[in-house]
């Protein structure tokens, strides 16, 4: 039997380990499983980062904040000095 494929659609599902599906990035308020607002695709090019305080953000979001003097190097959730896990 020969099958002729006229059309197909692809589908993929994406999920980071270590966070819940509903978890938001506190900075951009996007889902952690989505990319930060400056990237178009989630994944290794827009990774997550965990602090020792256990708060999680998109790496791009927290690095932008920490690069500002006004951040004083603190986690925006608890104002503790940010240290990456």
């Amino acid at each position: 039997m020969r099958v002729k494929i006229n059309e197909w659609r692809t589908f993929s599902h994406w999920k980071w380990d270590g966070c819940d599906v509903e978890d938001l990035c506190g900075i951009c308020q996007n889902y952690l499983d989505n990319s930060c607002p400056n990237c178009s695709l989630p994944g290794d090019d827009c990774p997550l980062i965990w602090g020792k305080c256990n708060h999680t953000f998109h790496m791009h979001c927290i690095l932008k904040w920490l690069s500002l003097e006004s951040s004083k190097g603190q986690c925006p959730m608890d104002r503790q000095q940010w240290e990456t896990q």
């Binding site: 900075i27 932008k64 500002l68 603190q74 925006p76 959730m77």
Partner: protein
């Protein structure tokens, strides 16, 4: 063949024309959707397409500033939420935490801003200023001194300043709703 190529070109041009929504705009959009304004506050967007510039009107229904209508302008930069919104009062009032140019002394609009805060936090903070004027860390040092020296006298001066009468020779705007 030719057709396919020209179609591709067309879509490329189309994509370029479409203005890109910035990270700040996306975040403000979320903030505005989640904004829960009590009946004492309302927003006004002079240009509905521009979410980064709008007005907030606060009409306190209790406290010494009851009966006034205070109009603030919000100017949100493209660095939002990494930078606090710039908030200014458009009227000149007698208040320890607001100077005569309309600058606001609210910690979360200054040194305590952090990007996990949102517009709701700012709006709640502004409303609180009218319920509890704070004589510590003032922008209008004279008003703060007056509040500490004699709360009742201060209250009387707030009331008369709100209807546009001067306080100790200093003129104020009529802000009565």
């Amino acid at each position: 063949m030719i057709k396919i190529w020209s179609m591709k070109k067309d879509t490329e041009n189309g994509a370029k024309k479409k203005p890109k929504t910035s990270a700040a705009q996306l975040r403000v959009q979320k903030d505005i959707t989640e904004l829960e304004l009590p009946s004492t506050m309302s927003t006004h967007f002079p240009n509905p397409a521009d979410l980064l510039n709008f007005e907030l009107i606060i009409k306190p229904d209790e406290g010494m500033y009851k009966g006034g209508a205070f109009k603030f302008t919000f100017n949100i930069s493209n660095n939002y939420p990494h930078e606090a919104p710039k908030v200014k009062l458009t009227q000149k009032i007698y208040h320890p935490n607001l100077d005569h140019q309309g600058n606001v002394c609210l910690n979360i609009l200054r040194e305590d801003w952090k990007p996990v805060l949102n517009l709701n936090a700012v709006v709640v903070g502004l409303q609180y200023l009218f319920l509890e004027p704070n004589a510590e860390d003032p922008l209008n040092k004279d008003a703060a001194k007056d509040l500490l020296a004699d709360r009742n006298q201060f209250k009387a001066w707030v009331r008369s300043s709100m209807s546009g009468r001067p306080v100790k020779g200093e003129p104020y705007d009529n802000v009565m709703a």
